[in-house]
């Protein structure tokens, strides 16, 4: 059973209708650009650029999708993107759980300073560190403070390893772990459980919504990453979908219908993922139940 606030049966009906109206109107505004994208992807060349735009395609042209697909090695791009994003998400969740737990529930000297340093990494704009990070990945033998650099251009690790830790996920999970009731921690200590067991058996199950949230955000960040993959990969073998889409945007010119088709199939997997994950998010909420 889905957990949520119990249905407000004492409310007058008009409140419930008003709620739906608000939600639908906002949903309409929010979804319109997406609707526009999908309908444009099914129009023919001329109708797609027609001004003012038609609300619904005059004829449906699903072949736009195969056309757009054939114009670039999208299959390869998708495999690359899935591999990179899944790896980043799993590894990042692991490091974030451990780190967040340490910050939230362990005592050690320098905690405050370290947390500030971690947060600071969120604040430095990536444009500043772009060149040093690029140099770090280059095959140069001396540019990294006198030491050889990593030489990871055109690889998978260059797109995965730098993102295995993120101050954002650590921050998010820390906030959640902080609200685990202290009584639970005391009980666990009395039972003789160490930190690792407490984390694994109690804290994590209670934090499933937070984990799924962090995981979704990380996955999405990786899926939509564009600037970094562009600068560290040149060969199509390692290219990801956003880089492919950006290049497609340039060459599509007035072939707006194809650009929209490509944009749609780049977005579709994530939407499906969210549809599925969102159900587990809800189940996760239910599973936490009423404890403590």
């Amino acid at each position: 059973m889905e957990r949520g606030l119990p249905r407000l049966t004492t409310r007058p009906r008009i409140g419930s209708i008003a709620k739906h109206v608000v939600l639908i109107v906002v949903a309409g505004i929010v979804a319109y650009p997406f609707y526009f994208m999908v309908t444009s992807s099914l129009k023919d060349t001329l109708e797609a650029i027609r001004t003012p735009p038609t609300i619904f395609p005059n004829e449906l042209h699903p072949e736009n999708y195969t056309d757009a697909w054939n114009r670039a090695p999208w299959g390869r791009y998708f495999i690359n993107t899935i591999f990179v994003s899944v790896s980043v998400t799993i590894l990042e969740l692991i490091t974030a759980c451990l780190a967040a737990y340490a910050f939230a529930r362990m005592k050690f000297r320098g905690k405050g300073i370290l947390f500030t340093v971690f947060l600071a990494t969120l604040m430095i704009p990536s444009e500043a560190t772009l060149i040093p990070r690029y140099v770090l990945m280059s095959p140069s033998r001396v540019a990294c403070a006198g030491l050889p650099c990593l030489g990871w251009f055109d690889s998978y690790q260059v797109q995965i390893v730098p993102f295995i830790a993120s101050a954002f996920s650590i921050f998010l999970l820390r906030q959640f772990f902080l609200s685990i009731p202290n009584e639970l921690a005391d009980a666990a200590r009395i039972d003789g459980a160490g930190h690792l067991r407490f984390l694994w058996s109690i804290v994590l199950p209670l934090s499933i919504p937070a984990l799924i949230t962090a995981g979704l955000i990380t996955f999405l960040g990786s899926w939509n990453a564009f600037q970094w993959p562009l600068i560290v990969t040149s060969k199509p073998d390692f290219r990801v979908v956003q880089v492919g889409l950006s290049a497609f945007r340039q060459e599509a010119g007035s072939s707006y219908h194809l650009l929209m088709a490509a944009s749609t199939f780049v977005v579709a997997p994530i939407v499906l993922l969210f549809l599925v994950a969102q159900r587990y998010l809800v189940q996760g909420i239910a599973r936490t139940g009423i404890r403590g």
Partner: protein, 442 residues
């Protein structure tokens, strides 16, 4: 302008004198070696879509036929800004490719790190260079733009993907109006106004002209009105003269009477194709996009030179742009291999072939004799229309800071067409800023 011509004449003279003499400087020895074994080189470029396919075709042909063991790998690095970013990063990392696609202003920046090879010795080398006749066959403007006065007038890059600013015309609208293609600016303004149609509520349904805020088209219009862009000493701008003001005033008038409008992204292309627009200025590289549109909705169009102030057609002018290719310092063998590739690309047959598949302009006059190009022009008459105008095209400034000056010009034009400033005020602000930029960048 005369000073610049004099310098250029001197350079040509010295070059001519040297082509017979034995090489003396260290670098000219480098230019005359022969390759001893197979060489692999990498080209970074910013071409995508059909143009990338065209380049890949040329690269494959070179790899298969060069007979010297040279293998070229061409890699797309995104758009020009991204390519520039990466090349700068590569300079910091000491990991440059052998050659890169580059605008003149990029080359000026790369030269600050002294990583660009001087192509003069290669061009003039008896072993590996071009004959005098061949050199003269290449349009002079292409040498000019790749010669950098701030670096001792050295030839630091070679023409590669050149195009020029032209006027696109919807012939159907002109026929309907019974007017010819405008040749002067007054005719242009009048025809654009005549083409403008408004509906009952006063909303414009057909426009005369699509404004460009891009600096290159401003420069083109200044040239076409008989002006110059830079002072002869390259220390201040010259586009703030009466010609530049005239451009802004025309934009102002056309904005106010509704014959001009500001398109978003590529709107102007589809607007012309669907009969909503009579004229726009764009690069010859827009031809393939217009052709695509023409297959979807047939319409009659052509390209022609911008309206001119000069009555003598031989004095017509427009702007030449597009990117070039620069060779980075590495080993003598790699440098030579790179030179041989770009030289091959600019030879008559290849220049014609690349032009017919990529829609860029051939770099030499005799390309017109090639059958490939003639066949292409039979299919794409606008290709020939563009080619005929190359001789009238002049380069834009290639000094450091030019990219920033382009932003200043963009803002200047935007101020006028959004009504924030009068032409005179906008010009004054822009001139001060531009001159300051030049001062700071040297």
């Amino acid at each position: 302008m005369r000073m610049k011509a004099a310098i250029l004449a001197a350079v040509m003279l010295v070059t001519a004198a040297c082509s017979g003499a034995p090489p003396a400087a260290q670098q000219s020895t480098e230019a005359d070696i022969t390759l001893s074994g197979p060489v692999s080189i990498t080209l970074w470029h910013a071409l995508s879509g059909a143009q990338q396919v065209a380049l890949d075709g040329m690269v494959k042909k070179f790899n298969d036929t060069n007979g010297k063991g040279i293998t070229v790998t061409a890699l797309n690095q995104g758009n020009y800004t991204q390519l520039y970013q990466k090349t700068l990063g590569a300079i910091q990392a000491g990991a440059l490719p052998e050659l890169a696609h580059a605008y003149e202003s990029f080359v000026a920046d790369y030269m600050k790190a002294d990583v660009v090879v001087d192509l003069g010795p290669y061009k003039d080398s008896k072993t590996n260079g071009l004959t005098q006749a061949s050199q003269d066959d290449i349009y002079k403007g292409y040498y000019d733009t790749n010669t950098f006065p701030q670096y001792g007038n050295r030839l630091l890059s070679w023409p590669f993907t050149k195009s020029l600013a032209v006027m696109y015309v919807n012939n159907d609208i002109l026929k309907e109006l019974g007017k010819p293609v405008p040749k002067t600016w007054d005719e242009f303004e009048a025809t654009a106004l005549a083409a403008t149609k408004k509906d009952a509520s006063g909303k414009v349904t057909r426009m005369g002209f699509a404004f460009n805020t891009d600096a290159s088209y401003f420069n083109a219009q200044v040239y076409a009105r008989g002006g110059t862009l830079m002072a002869t000493d390259n220390k201040s701008v010259a586009w703030n003269g009466k010609e530049g003001i005239a451009v802004l005033q025309m934009y102002d008038r056309m904005n106010k009477n509704g014959s001009g409008y500001t398109p978003k992204s590529f709107d102007f292309q589809s607007d012309l194709a669907t009969g909503k627009l009579a004229f726009f200025f764009s690069s010859t590289s827009t031809v393939p996009f217009m052709r695509d549109l023409a297959t979807a909705t047939p319409f009659s169009w052509s390209i022609t030179n911008l309206p001119q102030a000069a009555t003598d057609p031989a004095k017509a002018k427009t702007v030449q742009f597009g990117a070039n290719v620069a060779i980075f310092k590495s080993t003598p063998e790699k440098q030579l291999a790179s030179w041989l590739f770009i030289k091959w690309m600019s030879d008559p047959d290849q220049s014609a072939q690349f032009a017919s598949t990529s829609y860029y302009m051939p770099v030499r006059k005799t390309a017109a004799e090639s059958q490939t190009l003639k066949d292409y022009w039979a299919k794409v008459p606008q290709g020939k229309q563009g080619f005929d105008l190359i001789q009238y095209s002049s380069p834009e400034p290639n000094i450091r800071g030019q990219q920033d000056i382009r932003d200043v010009i963009l803002n200047m034009i935007t101020e006028v067409i959004t009504g924030k400033s009068t032409p005179d005020a906008a010009m004054a602000t822009a001139t001060t800023k531009a001159n300051q930029i030049i001062k700071d960048a040297q």
